[in-house]
């Protein structure tokens, strides 16, 4: 298994993927990338996959997808002779999409190398690393203090917790649930301001079906959680919701 931190991997990782392997074959055979002899390249590509297989190494599924793409292009190239084709068909070289992909990938490989060649912090250049002077305390406890933290840290923290406690019910977090939570928060905020509300008041001018359904679900959820109470004055009268506990 590839270890991201060390960068070393046991699988035939001199290649970063099928495109990388193809670029290598093109370079090795001194092929013009705009005029790839597909038969030759396909043969060599499959040869490499066989080697990987014989070494009993894991192979990313993408290598197989590329193999079938190559075989497909090869068969298309074998079909009609070019001069029997119309102008329009001529322009449609079966290799063109692959060439575009290869060029694009090659460009990013070069960009990656260029990045690596820059003056990297903590490799070529260094900054001050001493902790801030102890004698200078933070000036004021700012009311609107800036906080530096990102979303990835938040989900990562949550993930660590979940894996620690191993309670499957906490795993049930999806977009649907979070959308519902958004509305639950809205409902509670409005109830705090207005003390009681009808379902109609809660929806206001809302006509979005999804929003209406979610608002209804939010109310059911809040009743279940004993956070709100719903009262009906008569059998078919309006339903009015109140905070379960007066603040």
């Amino acid at each position: 298994m590839a270890d991201e931190t060390t960068g070393y991997a046991i699988k035939l990782d001199i290649f970063e993927g099928p495109l990388d392997l193809l670029l290598y074959l093109i370079k090795k055979n001194e092929i013009d990338i705009y005029n790839i002899p597909v038969a030759l390249v396909t043969e060599q590509y499959l040869e490499y996959l066989k080697i990987i297989k014989s070494l009993n190494l894991d192979l990313a599924g993408e290598y197989l997808v590329m193999a079938s793409t190559l075989i497909h292009i090869k068969s298309k190239m074998l079909l009609p002779a070019p001069d029997e084709l119309s102008e329009e068909e001529k322009e449609e070289d079966p290799r063109s999409e692959l060439v575009r992909q290869l060029l694009e990938y090659q460009a990013f490989k070069e960009a990656a190398t260029a990045l690596q060649g820059r003056q990297l912090l903590e490799r070529d250049v260094f900054t001050r690393s001493a902790p801030l002077d102890d004698d200078i305390e933070k000036a004021t406890e700012d009311e609107d203090e800036l906080i530096e933290v990102n979303v990835f840290e938040l989900i990562d923290a949550f993930h660590r917790l979940v894996s620690r406690i191993d309670k499957k019910e906490y795993l049930k977090i999806d977009l649907e649930k979070m959308s519902l939570t958004d509305i639950i928060n809205d409902v509670m905020e409005r109830l705090n301001c207005e003390k009681n509300l009808t379902f109609e008041e809660l929806l206001g001018e809302e006509t979005d079906r999804r929003r209406i359904v979610y608002t209804f679900l939010a109310i059911l959820e809040l009743i279940k959680l004993k956070m709100i109470k719903a009262y009906q004055t008569s059998a078919f009268g309006v339903i009015r919701i109140f905070p379960a506990v007066e603040s």
């Binding site: 499959l46 260094f126 001493a130 906080i147 979303v151 620690r164």
Partner: protein, 186 residues
Amino acid sequence: MENYKAIIEALILTSETPLTLEKIYAVLNDIEKSEVKNTLQQLIAEYEERQSGIYLVEVAGGFQFRTRPELSPWVKKLKGTKPASLSPAALETLAIVAYRQPIVKAEIEDIRGVDVSAPLKGLLEKKLVRIVGRKDVPGKPIIYGTTKKFLEVFNLRDLSELPTLRELKELNEQKEVEAIEEISDS
């Protein structure tokens, strides 16, 4: 000949603690100790002469760059604009509130396995978490939820923009296939 002065200056800047003579000797092992000392005195004098905002000082058995004491009002003012970060306890508590809200304290503690009074108080003060209401069960516990400021700090339009655990798990799993039977014969 190497430019020892430049090297020593760079070493002082990057050292986490005041840079000791021993460490300098260890890095520049072919240089006379007296030359190191002379170079340091020269550097101290240069910074003194320049009357810049920085000076080189011998402190705690080593050498360190510091800002001039008379500039401390400005440095303090800058510190006031420094973004605070959240402690791991606060971050975990915030994650639970964000993903499991509306939630009461006992439920947060059930997940974290420890008392969360302190981190929860901090999050309320930082206005990342708010009191949403109370639950109508014995003890009438307080219910917590996240705030608008929470969305601002994390640069989210709404809560549904938060990444899910499934998406995080996807980043942890690399797809691989072992067999290549189908193509090897073609």
